[in-house]
Symmetry: C2
Subunit: 150 residues, 2 copies
């Protein structure tokens, strides 16, 4: 199972860096790895609590930092005023589409974008590092019903 594997990789990362494998770190990593969504810190906290585990906010932030550093999780910023976190799962770079009505997030991949952004950067004398694209729109469900979940 994927979650199990990710968790094992996290344990390995911690050991290799001489960092204690604590209950909290495992609980938090577990929640993020188990999710197929882009979780906010608040959502991570709620999920951890729902599993009967305990973890203070500070610990959640600190552990998410570790997960990002380990490369097992990516940080996202959809311009909502807070960050979201997504398990990497060896999936290559991809873009996001956000429903401005219900907040739903879809992902897509387009290789042209990598090439385009590299070329555009170069034509301006920049050496490209990365890019960030978010498409904002209204998802099929919300178009049909005129509102979130209704």
């Amino acid at each position: 199972m994927d979650v199990r594997n990710d968790l094992e990789q996290f344990r390995t990362y911690l050991r290799q860096h001489n960092l204690p494998v604590t209950q909290q770190r495992l609980a938090i990593a577990n929640v993020v790895f188990a999710s197929d969504r882009h979780l906010s810190v608040e959502e991570v906290a709620a999920d951890v609590a729902a599993q009967g585990e305990n973890a203070g906010t500070a610990t959640i932030y600190r552990t998410l930092d570790l997960l990002v550093k380990s490369g097992l999780v990516v940080e996202r910023d959809f311009g909502e005023g807070f960050r979201r976190f997504e398990p990497t799962r060896g999936i290559p770079h991809h873009e996001h589409m956000l429903c401005t009505v219900c907040g739903r997030v879809d992902e897509f991949r387009d290789e042209r974008l990598e090439r385009m952004t590299t070329l555009i950067a170069e034509s301006h004398g920049y050496s490209r590092q990365r890019h960030r694209l978010v498409i904002y729109g209204v998802c099929a469900d919300c178009q049909r019903s005129g509102g979130p979940g209704r």
Copy 2:
């Protein structure tokens, strides 16, 4: 002159909405219109003060909201943790490139992106509203010198 014209349009907007044309509103609008950069709230405040005018932080935020609502100014989010504001000046939608070393911002336009994002959105059942693309990289100057301004 452009600034003069923008300012006139702002006055018109205020009158049409029965909003008082105050000294502060004009000073703030003037600063944003006069700039060819993407100003942060802090920078707007500094520029207003530099012009010998007075305006509290709250007023700056409130006036920037008005400017955005009027369509004369656009809000930008480059993932820095705060917002920036750019005069519209009738310039069509464009993208941004950010130097991760010195913070320099360049602009570019690519019509393909409009089409691409619309098609991608549709293929996922979304009706596209807008998109946001930022390319992060190192500008020519910083590549040459290995640091900002040195």
